[in-house]
């Protein structure tokens, strides 16, 4: 009997997970369908761009600077063994533009903006603001969800680009200013090795995908949260955990597609 109940419990969780994926997919398509209003009233997106993008700037800049500085230190120590210190700029730039920029920025975005979106929408639900909107014949997906979705999709690549740029500057500070790597070779090798389409555009595509996934997860969790303090707190935690895992898994898949054999 214990085996049967275990199998039943596992089955129930799998069915529940598949059900949630289905509901989330429907939510995503409804968001796309009801996006027209957001673009007609672009000020709604601009308002959300401020709270998701602009308010994330500090954490992105500070984290980017330190990650770049660590990359500079570690990169120098490794490259020195092979006498290739001059390639430090290439290593820092490729590491940031291809991987760390999009991934770290997305993880930070999920923690700061994603959790805030979930908590805000969850609380709007708990305080009947969403029900009130529906009773006023205003579609909450069009009015609340769609502007936030597009703000997340737009701001994520910009934040990732900023993270990479600041990270490269951090690598420069440590590598060139502090350690004394030749400045000319730092920048010239970087310029020669980093390809716009292969490296930068692929990084942008990654951050667009991460931005879409994180924002949809955050909005769905908020919209689906039980209208209680415990429900909103659980939904916020799920946003961070699910988004982080999704980012790391998708990064592997995208990297395998983009850079295999490159």
């Amino acid at each position: 009997m214990a085996v049967i109940s275990t199998i039943r419990a596992i089955g129930s969780r799998v069915v529940n997970a598949v059900w949630r994926i289905g509901v989330a997919s429907r939510f995503f398509f409804l968001t796309l369908i009801y996006s027209g209003n957001s673009f007609r009233r672009f000020h709604l997106i601009i308002k959300e761009l401020f709270s998701t993008g602009v308010m994330s700037l500090i954490i992105i800049i500070v984290a980017g600077l330190f990650v770049g500085m660590v990359l500079g230190l570690q990169g120098y120590e490794t490259l020195k063994r092979y006498g290739s210190e001059s390639a430090l700029g290439v290593m820092v730039a490729l590491g940031l533009v291809r991987e760390l920029g999009p991934v770290m920025a997305a993880l930070l975005f999920a923690s700061r903006a994603g959790s805030a979106m979930t908590a805000e929408i969850g609380l709007m639900k708990a305080t009947e603001q969403i029900s009130a909107m529906e009773m006023m014949a205003v579609n909450p997906i069009a009015r609340i969800v769609a502007p936030r979705f597009w703000a997340g999709v737009i701001s994520m690549p910009l934040l990732a680009a900023l993270f990479s740029a600041v990270g490269i500057f951090g690598g420069y500070l440590v590598g060139v200013v502090q350690i004394g790597v030749d400045e000319g070779s730092f920048w010239s090798q970087m310029q020669a090795a980093v390809d716009f389409r292969e490296d930068i555009m692929n990084g942008v595509i990654k951050s667009l995908v991460f931005g879409t996934v994180v924002t949809v997860i955050a909005l769905f969790e908020g919209f689906d949260a039980p209208p209680t303090a415990e429900g909103v707190s659980g939904a916020t935690t799920r946003t961070v955990v699910t988004s982080s895992l999704a980012i790391l898994m998708l990064d592997f898949v995208l990297t395998a597609i983009m850079f295999r054999g490159a």
Binding site: L123, M124, T127, E128, Q129, S131, A132, M133, E134, M135, M136, A137, V138, N139, R143
Partner: protein
């Protein structure tokens, strides 16, 4: 449907998770009248209100509003019908990221193409009606419970709805705010020529302002009548409810096992 009724509920049944919540409800809400639905917490009042608003689909029976069956409307029809309604939620449900002014202007901006200067005048008129013109720049977090309810009331009547629904409008208010809200509900209903439905368990305040009352218990209507008829009623449930008696048809003790059994005493 009788020509004078704005909302008619006929044989409404609703079952949730195999549990009957509403059973055979019949109600009529005449135009221009203020009708209260009263009963204990959990008796199905708010569920009934959600059926009138088209947020729930009945298991059996129907709600007719202005001649149309609510649960048969498609989404566009339902939204068109909701533009004729206003609903005041229990704690106001003001949009916390908007000022008092923007909350009241919300529906005007969403549903009309009115220029901003006309919206301004309309918002001022609505806020003046609830006595909060001076609070237009405040945020919801800066308002007291009574003020928030009044702003929500101004927002509810922003587009002059033909039906106004109130979900527990008196909950958690101090005595002065309670009287103010009660008075505003009555005055706004009469001034707008609207029909109002109040879901409440605040018997004393409601009986002062409403035209007719339905009493609900356990998902069915147990009594109905004018305030005077209910005050004079000799029905046990109505008597207990109106006079706030501790024990009666609604028992003080929640059903459970025998007390002696809980204390491990022999019979």
């Amino acid at each position: 449907m009788s020509s004078n009724a704005l909302v008619e509920i006929r044989d409404l049944n609703f079952t949730y998770d195999k549990r009957p919540v509403l059973q055979g409800i019949n109600m009529t809400f005449p135009r221009g009248r203020l009708v209260a639905i009263m009963g204990l917490s959990g008796c199905g009042k708010t569920t009934l209100l959600r059926h009138i608003g088209g947020a729930l689909k009945p298991t059996k029976g129907c709600v007719r509003m202005d001649g149309q069956v609510m649960h048969e409307l498609d989404p566009a029809g339902l939204y068109a019908m909701r533009r004729k309604m206003g609903m005041l939620f229990q704690f106001g449900a003001l949009f916390t990221d908007m000022s008092v002014y923007d909350n009241v202007a919300f529906q005007m901006r969403e549903h009309t193409d009115l220029p901003e200067d006309i919206i301004h005048d309309l918002v001022m008129m609505k806020l003046h009606a609830v006595g909060l013109r001076g609070a237009q720049n405040m945020m919801p977090s800066e308002l007291s419970g009574g003020m928030a309810r009044r702003v929500a009331l101004a927002r509810t009547v922003a587009l002059d709805p033909m039906l106004i629904m109130y979900d527990e409008p008196f909950a958690g208010l101090d005595p002065i705010s309670l009287t103010v809200i009660g008075d505003l509900i009555r005055r706004l209903n009469d001034a707008l020529g609207a029909t109002s439905i109040i879901v409440t368990h605040d018997i004393q305040e409601s009986l002062k302002i409403v035209d007719y009352v339905y009493f609900m218990a356990g998902g069915v209507i147990v009594a109905e009548g004018t305030p005077d008829e209910l005050r004079a009623s000799d029905k046990d449930f109505v008597h207990q409810f109106v006079h706030g008696e501790m024990d009666g048809p609604v028992p003080f003790h929640y059903p459970g096992v025998d007390f002696r059994q809980d204390l491990n005493l022999r019979a």
